[in-house]
């Protein structure tokens, strides 16, 4: 796949994580006249706001008496794009290293590409958010076990087993039912969490709903052919299965900060009052960061983003002013030429 972004480019700032703090840091770096790349493991912006509560109303963002998660992220994304940053999604960061000769950091992505950058702002929140793996059968991933149904048509005529009890499990079951030979939903609890209307429709459309049942094994040859499901009386039943859909929700995985040489405290990176980590040039903001008096909120993440980026600007250009120009000035991208608040 061709990529419009030239990876040979050296960036001033690379922001890791496109949640609220990372998006605002991206905007802010552009506002300060710095070149910036934003990377995120998810296919879209928003971090946990998008993944977990897009419809929830948030009441503690300054300037918005109430705003939905989705609207907030849309606004932050539009703002972040103002200065034409590079944005890379589906791009897990697997390594962070520093080239001793040039002093540049290398942010290595899972596809092997690396971003060369003068500073890094870690805004990874609670970590990459990924589908929860099936407790049994994960080794068949890519050979009949899927976690996301991307193209329903490839499942035409198949026997399908969906594992999970929430809305995504039922949504996929209902979506696949018209084209599949059979659809069975296996849930380990007594009751489904999915919307009652979905359950009624599922029953009407001939979807088999098994509760208090767990996947015991996944079997096949070069691909999945069957599963064994055990019910609460410990009776095993073998079901034909061409596809097993894991719909067990999302789980966050913290980034390997220690392997990157960063001081951590629990799941968080320790920072000083400039939001810099123990590695000069690497900053951490938002839920990923920790310091005395830390309050993990979107509201505080915005302030941390501005603090980190202004200090990153000084790290890049030691003569630069820490204090940016006012965003109300006409020529806002001046800070590198040392516009100070006093002069403005």
């Amino acid at each position: 796949m061709s990529d419009p972004i030239d990876m040979r480019d050296v960036r001033d700032v690379t922001v890791v994580g496109a949640g609220p703090s990372g998006l605002f840091a991206t905007y802010y770096a552009g506002f300060r006249g710095l070149s910036v790349t934003l990377v995120d493991a998810q296919p879209e912006a928003g971090g946990q706001v998008t993944a977990l509560y897009p419809a929830k109303t948030i009441h503690d963002v300054a300037g918005f008496p109430s705003v939905t998660g989705a609207d907030l992220i849309a606004g932050l994304t539009a703002q972040a794009r103002e200065h034409a940053p590079h944005m890379l999604f589906d791009a897990d960061v697997v390594d962070l290293g520093r080239d001793e000769q040039t002093g540049l950091f290398r942010v290595v992505l899972k596809d092997g590409r690396a971003i060369r950058t003068r500073t890094v702002v870690i805004a990874t929140g609670v970590g990459g958010i990924h589908p929860r793996k099936l407790p049994v059968g994960h080794e068949w991933h890519g050979r009949g076990v899927v976690y996301i149904v991307t193209d329903p048509d490839v499942h035409a005529g198949q026997d399908i087993v969906v594992v999970g009890g929430g809305d995504s499990a039922l949504d996929w079951a209902l979506q696949l039912r018209p084209i599949a030979r059979s659809v069975t939903v296996v849930h380990r609890r007594r009751a489904f969490r999915a919307h009652p209307a979905s359950l009624t429709r599922a029953a009407r459309e001939g979807i088999v709903l098994l509760t208090e049942s767990e996947l015991q094994s996944v079997d096949g040859d070069h691909r999945v052919r069957s599963v064994v499901v055990r019910d609460k009386q410990a009776v095993d039943v073998e079901l034909p299965a061409d596809t097993v859909v894991g719909a067990l929700g999302l789980l966050s995985a913290p980034s390997p900060f220690e392997a990157w040489g960063l001081d951590v405290e629990g799941r968080h990176v320790v920072v000083d009052p400039t939001m810099q980590t123990n590695v000069p040039g690497v900053f951490a903001i938002g839920d990923a960061s920790s310091y005395r008096g830390k309050v993990a909120l979107i509201a505080t993440g915005f302030g941390e983003a501005a603090t980190a980026v202004n200090n990153a600007a000084v790290h890049i250009e030691p003569g630069a002013s820490l204090v940016p120009g006012h965003s109300t000035d006409d020529d806002v991208a001046l800070p590198q030429t040392a516009t100070t608040r006093q002069e403005a």
Partner: protein
């Protein structure tokens, strides 16, 4: 902040909350589940799915009972539980730990439902 599981969970333990927690911070005791306040990210998914309506955000714990259970959820991790060698602390994930065959004194002494 954190969410907290209240008395309605005792002897119910539906575990839907465990299934939806994106950071796997809801730990199963013997009679009740407990949310680790240091690991909770305050997303509120658990509150929405609990069929017992047992879960509330700690910031809304203004009455004595909710205050008591807020402290008790934390105590499950900071105090040494019967049969355990040390406090659980912040294990960083409930699934690898499995169900803990113990409860806080408050829950252990709660009348059977």
């Amino acid at each position: 902040m954190t969410y907290v599981i209240g008395k309605e969970c005792i002897d119910a333990q539906d575990r839907s909350c465990v299934d939806v927690c994106p950071v796997d911070c809801i730990y199963e005791g013997s009679r009740k589940n407990y949310i680790n306040p240091a690991e909770c990210i305050d997303c509120g998914e658990c509150e929405l799915v609990c069929p017992e309506v047992a879960i509330f955000p700690a910031r809304k714990a203004t009455n004595d009972e909710w205050k008591q259970f807020t402290a008790d959820n934390a105590a499950f991790f900071t105090e040494q539980l019967p049969g355990q060698d040390a406090p659980l602390g912040d294990p960083g994930g409930a699934e690898p730990l499995g169900s803990v065959d113990a409860d806080t004194p408050l829950v252990a002494g709660w009348p059977q439902r």
